[in-house]
């Protein structure tokens, strides 16, 4: 940017211009530092302290919180790894459904006549607009053993009522079902866009070769939407790792502790037992695991990609 009219030296003009430009970034930078960067550093620091909110002293204890988590005799070990295990179960149950059904719905919508496509897309997408507490309470009501809509429907067909929220595996089925219902639309939208960007002439060429619809799907559609598929898998995995509201409101972590996910354990540790240091250590480990899983998913997808090219 030149300010030809002002009689200033080039260096001075340059500095002025940079300063003005910096002011554009400054407000966001301030928020970023205060509410993202600082908490990040502060969280690492807290995790190295014996930080109980109820006591006045918060001594620095190095990695003691972390060694306690990894010490099999410690109660913290059980809390962390049982919670992690329950979270992983939820991830493993929910992510394949979120990805596969999301893609299936996108394919279904794309094969509908254009006039009604928008209507159905809106309907499938609506739950995404609603908060997790509303979703959980609606499903809590629908899945109620005695008065719920689902059991009343099943009983009218002659089946016995199912303890949807108080017995396994039904509790997992309920949590996963409610989650799929809630967030499926988001993945579907991403897939619709990806499908629309597959070049039309690829399909035309294979039609001439006499390929069936299934062959087209396997050999053209899937390879073309591969990067989007990876994106959906990673974002769905992260979202499922962060699961909290559904088990907190629908099953309260039960039956037993079977749906007590890691984030529930961390929140409980921090706000009921006031063990901020230990809870921060667990939150950090959980984040590292999430980042690690994303990287592994990314690597696996890339390796397959290269293998395909080599062939």
């Amino acid at each position: 940017m030149e300010e030809a009219r002002l009689p200033m030296s080039k260096a001075k003009r340059d500095r002025r211009s940079k300063l003005t430009s910096f002011l554009f970034v400054l407000p966001y930078l301030a928020m970023f530092l205060a509410f993202l960067f600082f908490p990040l550093v502060y969280g690492i620091y807290i995790s190295l302290n014996d930080y109980n909110l109820l006591s006045k002293e918060h001594p620095f204890i190095g990695f003691a919180n972390y060694t306690r988590i990894f010490n099999p005799d410690s109660a913290m070990n059980a809390l962390f790894f049982e919670g992690l295990w329950n979270t992983i179960k939820f991830v493993v149950f929910s992510v394949p459904l979120l990805v596969i059904i999301g893609l299936a719905l996108a394919l279904l919508l794309n094969s509908l006549p254009g006039r009604i496509r928008g209507l159905f897309r809106t309907i499938y997408f609506i739950p995404y607009a609603i908060s997790v507490s509303v979703i959980s309470i609606i499903f809590l009501w629908i899945l109620d053993t005695n008065s719920g809509l689902l059991n009343n429907f099943l009983m009218s067909l002659g089946f016995d009522p199912v303890p949807w929220l108080t017995r396994q595996p039904f509790a997992w089925i309920s949590l996963v079902g409610a989650t799929v219902w809630w967030t499926l639309g988001f993945n579907m939208i991403i897939f619709i866009n990806a499908l629309n960007e597959v070049p039309e002439d690829l399909y035309e060429a294979s039609s001439i070769d006499g390929a069936s619809a299934w062959q087209k799907f396997i050999h053209i559609t899937l390879p073309s939407i591969r990067p989007i598929m990876l994106f959906v898998v990673i974002t769905s995995t992260i979202a499922s790792f962060n699961v909290y509201g559904q088990p907190y409101l629908m099953t309260r972590g039960g039956p037993g502790d079977s749906t007590e996910v890691l984030l529930m354990g961390i929140v409980d540790l921090a706000f009921e037992q006031r063990e901020l240091g230990m809870a921060s250590a667990m939150a950090l480990l959980m984040s590292l695991i999430m980042i690690g899983v994303s990287i592994v998913q990314f690597k696996i997808s890339n390796r397959n990609q290269e293998g395909r090219k080599a062939r």
């Binding site: 940017m1 940079k18 003005t20 430009s21 910096f22 554009f24 970034v25 407000p27 966001y28 928020m31 205060a34 509410f35 993202l36 960067f37 600082f38 990040l40 969280g43 807290i46 719905l105 279904l108 919508l109 509908l112 006549p113 009604i116 159905f120 309907i123 609506i126 739950p127 607009a129 609603i130 997790v132 507490s133 509303v134 309470i137 609606i138 499903f139 009501w141 005695n146 008065s147 809509l149 059991n151 009343n152 939208i189 991403i190 866009n193 989007i228 994106f231 992260i238 962060n242 909290y244 509201g245 984030l263 961390i266 929140v267 921090a270 921060s280 939150a283 959980m286 984040s287 980042i291």
Partner: protein, 277 residues
């Protein structure tokens, strides 16, 4: 002939799936007009035998139990609107600066911002709680607004837009003697309006619907948001009054559903634009 048959089959399938998406919401509304006896008795009647609006008058006006629903609604809407206004403003400025202006260290700043998109929320919410607690700001609007403004999503979304923004418009304004701020306000922002709306709708929905953060960062009845307030009622006074709970969830859902239906196009655009590329 066969083609039409197949199309009809697909439409029927799509309609059945649509019902699965609509039934829970329809049941919520249906239950909200039933009295507690009829709700608890179960059954499958969609039209209440004894149609009543008492659940709504009870939750809105408050009788034996005081439900500060207007306050919660105000908190959610205020935090949502204020937070959204801040996010759109500061993200647009930062993204424009980084994409187009000679910001010092911009080579490092943009990657630094974007890399935090990978950082899970769990890593920051406990220290952020401590931070606000140390400053004595728990149970204030600050806690319901500012944490969302640090999210790099908007900077990322708008950066891509400003990168591909035609230079000619800016240059023409510059020749007319406009400075950076004037160019930004009079040329750049007006042409970025659609994408700014996309960011606004995203941000509003995120703040209005957030659950865990307002749940831990507020604990007085006055400072709850609507999403946390109804969770408190579900565990408290309304524990098995499903008629009242459904009235509450219906009221909570109406504003966000309106925003969603109006802003759907922008929302979809935002999802697909940041998706990849």
């Amino acid at each position: 002939m066969k083609q039409t048959g197949k199309k009809t089959g697909l439409i029927i399938l799509a309609s059945i799936i649509a019902l699965l998406f609509l039934i829970p919401l329809a049941w919520m509304i249906s239950t909200s007009f039933k009295n507690d006896f009829e709700a608890i008795a179960g059954g499958l009647n969609w039209i209440p035998e004894e149609f009543t609006i008492e659940n709504y008058t009870y939750t809105l006006l408050g009788e034996e139990v005081d439900v500060p629903i207007f306050r919660w609604m105000f908190n959610s809407l205020f935090a949502g609107i204020a937070g959204t206004a801040i996010i759109v403003t500061i993200d647009a400025m930062a993204a424009y600066g980084l994409a187009r202006l000679d910001v010092p260290f911009k080579k490092y700043l943009f990657p630094l911002f974007i890399s935090t998109l990978m950082i899970p929320f769990v890593i920051t919410f406990l220290p952020m709680y401590m931070q606000f607690s140390n400053m004595g700001l728990l149970n204030t609007y600050a806690v319901l607004i500012f944490p969302y403004t640090a999210n790099a999503f908007g900077v990322f979304l708008l950066y891509q837009f400003f990168k591909s923004f035609p230079k000619e418009l800016e240059e023409a304004a510059h020749l007319d003697g406009a400075n950076k701020w004037q160019i930004f306000a009079k040329v750049v922002v007006p042409s970025a309006r659609p994408i700014l709306w996309t960011l606004a709708i995203f941000s509003f929905m995120q703040i209005y619907n957030d659950f865990l953060w307002p749940l831990v960062a507020t604990n007085t009845p006055d400072m709850r948001t609507i999403t946390t307030g109804i969770a408190i009622m579900q565990q408290g006074s309304f524990v098995s009054s499903y008629g009242k709970l459904m009235a509450l969830t219906t009221i909570a859902t109406v504003p966000i559903l309106i925003v969603f239906l109006i802003g759907q196009k922008q929302l979809i655009k935002g999802i697909t634009q940041t998706g990849i590329k």
